[in-house]
Symmetry: C2
Subunit: 206 residues, 2 copies
């Protein structure tokens, strides 16, 4: 991005790096990818790697960006129940289920993409999910601090925890999805006064 076009050598190196990164991950797993090895494998200097991606987490995010974009497209514009058209509760349930599959599929990568600093929650994709959940909560009539409630729900879908449950405690993925469904149901449909069946529907989605 930046000003205008990318210089040709820069573009070439970016491709070289992405290719090398995918190979390396294929061979050694995401955890086995180090910035030094990547640079060597791609035949460029280490400085170049950081110039391109900023950090290891940035690289991982770049590698995930395609599938990430596809996921975003699906929950924002795709068919129900994930996309607009279904009741907010169902969309939330579907969102979690998809996210769980996503994390289990791209496991290590998704985890490696989470930097270990605060800004981890400020990354564009993360704020998008957060806003999405918040919007759905509002649409579902949850009036109690949707921002924080969305944060709580997001935290449940954190790759680190999800992978911990699956890999260390051998929790079945369906069980995760079911628990998410349970959680969302309770959060959405059970304010001080039982139901709030009323509709909202609408509009909020965008």
């Amino acid at each position: 991005m930046a000003g205008e076009s990318e210089r040709s050598d820069a573009a070439r190196n970016r491709e070289l790096l992405l290719k090398a990164a995918r190979e390396l991950i294929e061979e050694c797993g995401a955890d086995g990818l180090t910035m030094d090895r990547l640079a060597e494998r791609a035949g460029v200097g280490k400085g170049t790697v950081f110039r391109r991606f900023g950090s290891r987490a940035g690289l991982m995010m770049t590698l995930l960006s395609d599938s990430e974009a596809e996921f975003q497209g699906r929950f924002m514009f795709g068919p129900p129940p994930l996309g607009p058209g279904a009741p907010p509760r169902d969309r939330l349930v579907a969102f979690g289920a998809e996210r769980i599959s996503y994390v289990l599929e791209y496991g290590e990568l998704a985890r490696a993409a989470d930097s270990s600093a605060y800004n981890r929650f400020d990354v564009p994709a993360a704020v998008l999910w957060h806003r999405h959940i918040e919007m759905l909560l509002r649409a579902a009539g949850v009036t109690a601090d949707p921002w924080l409630m969305a944060m709580s729900l997001s935290s449940t879908l954190d790759p680190e925890r999800l992978l911990y449950a699956v890999r260390v405690h051998h929790v079945a993925p369906e069980r995760l999805a079911e628990s998410w469904r349970e959680l969302v149901t309770r959060v959405v449909s059970c304010p001080g006064g039982v139901a709030d069946p009323m509709a909202h529907t609408s509009a909020g989605d965008r």
Copy 2:
């Protein structure tokens, strides 16, 4: 195995290290404490630091252990509503509120005590909280996968997220506590009936 006792020089060095660590944190903040500086400040070798505490996270946990033990005592044996005697729902609410205060008080430290690996969830204190929450959920009649539900609730109380909300988004601590109360209320007091008719019965599933 020569008994259990600690060799005198080891004991001395442990005190030296803890003292130095507290000073360093006082002066530079938890993030400014590095193992090298700590070793130098305490006048011992680096190997000694790791021999004592195993890792940086281990050191931080040791530093927190007093207040941590005190907290554990309060929620396990102390007076209601935190301790036994109050209804489970109230105990959960109190637990979260206390934990939030705790994290805000020991902020950086609590965060630094979380190693960045999976085992972060396996640390004794963490499994204790988890079990405590799980137990309260069961006592409150939540039959749907209390283990995972406890995990979701725990994730809401994660130091990293809590501090992010407070430091980056300037969320007031009371607002955190209030949102926690809201969340717990919904999780606990939603009969499963409302939007989820059929509560699958089977209380006995485990």
